[in-house]
Amino acid sequence: MLLMAGMSLLTAFLRMGVWAPVLEFTIAALQVAILFILFMRLKGPPSLRWVFAASGFFWLLFLYGLSMTDYATRHSWPTQRVEIENPRD
């Protein structure tokens, strides 16, 4: 888990463009999956825990999916913006 956290930190400093957040959140999702299955003992009895864990995941998918049907179909979103240069770089 700590190694994965280190990898996540490293990706932030590599010039990977849009892939950096994709990788960072994939690592975070993997860490959370390990945490849920092993640390929170999702594996093993009582099996009903899986039903509630899965329902939370699916409700989250509904929340994200249905909300994105609005945003993803907006012509002006995300708006085209001028890149800002950071003088502190």
């Binding site: 932030a12 400093f13 957040p21 690592i27 329902s55 995300p78 502190r88």
Partner: protein, 216 residues
């Protein structure tokens, strides 16, 4: 101070095992609510980050990376010590269980200590919207949105962690002291551990949202 005592299930349960399972499932139901609570918060973050990518990247550079990273290590370690406490409880090693719980507690307090220091630095850096927010050269007004998310998300997380600390203290000072956690029934401790690890899971997502933006 009794080390353990015979515990009977509550009247509505057939056995201690059934009582324990019900308690665990109750916590998972609560965590589904918590998932949607933090999920909606993180969703708004993604919407704003997609709307204002450059502004977020510039504003996020002021986040104290070493504090966030140290806290990530502390929380991951605390989840491990919590699991070790459960294992010790299951095997009836009472003093070991207490030691691991105290270690978890210490890691939790350390997290809050670093968070407090980080907040102090943030106030000095004038990144508190509504109180003392100062736009720095190169920043745009939308950057303030990042800091609104930062304060709301980390504040709510700190509240959750403080509740976790309170629950561990309750276990140590009340349930364990009264001998109510035994190798045959340690479900209350497992319920607290599930909650604690969930708070850790929230930080795993907040970390890239806040500290890893705009670093390259």
């Amino acid at each position: 101070m009794p080390s353990s005592r015979t515990i009977a299930p509550e009247i509505q349960y057939a056995s201690l095992a059934q009582q324990g399972e019900t308690a665990q499932i109750g916590m998972w139901v609560f965590l589904v609510n918590e998932t949607l609570f933090f999920g909606a918060l993180i969703f708004t973050y993604f919407l704003y980050r997609l709307s204002y990518p450059s502004e977020f990247a510039v504003a996020a550079k002021d986040a104290v990376l070493w504090c966030g990273s140290t806290n990530l290590v502390l929380l991951l370690t605390s989840s491990l010590t919590m699991v070790l406490a459960i294992n010790a409880a299951a095997q009836g090693r009472r003093s070991e269980m207490v030691a691991w719980l105290i270690a978890t507690l210490a890691l939790g307090f350390l997290f809050l200590g670093f968070k407090g220091y980080e907040y102090f630095e943030d106030v000095r850096d004038k990144v508190v919207p509504g109180l003392n927010f100062e736009m720095k050269p190169g920043e745009a007004p939308a950057g303030e949105l990042f800091w609104v998310f930062y304060w709301v998300a980390t504040g709510l997380h700190a509240v959750h962690l403080s509740i976790g600390i309170g629950l561990i203290l309750y276990m140590l000072l009340w349930r364990i002291r009264r001998g109510e956690i035994t190798p045959t029934y340690y479900a209350p401790l497992e319920v607290v551990a599930i909650y604690w690890s969930f708070v850790d899971a929230v930080w795993l997502f907040l970390y890239p949202c806040i500290y890893l933006v705009g670093r390259s």
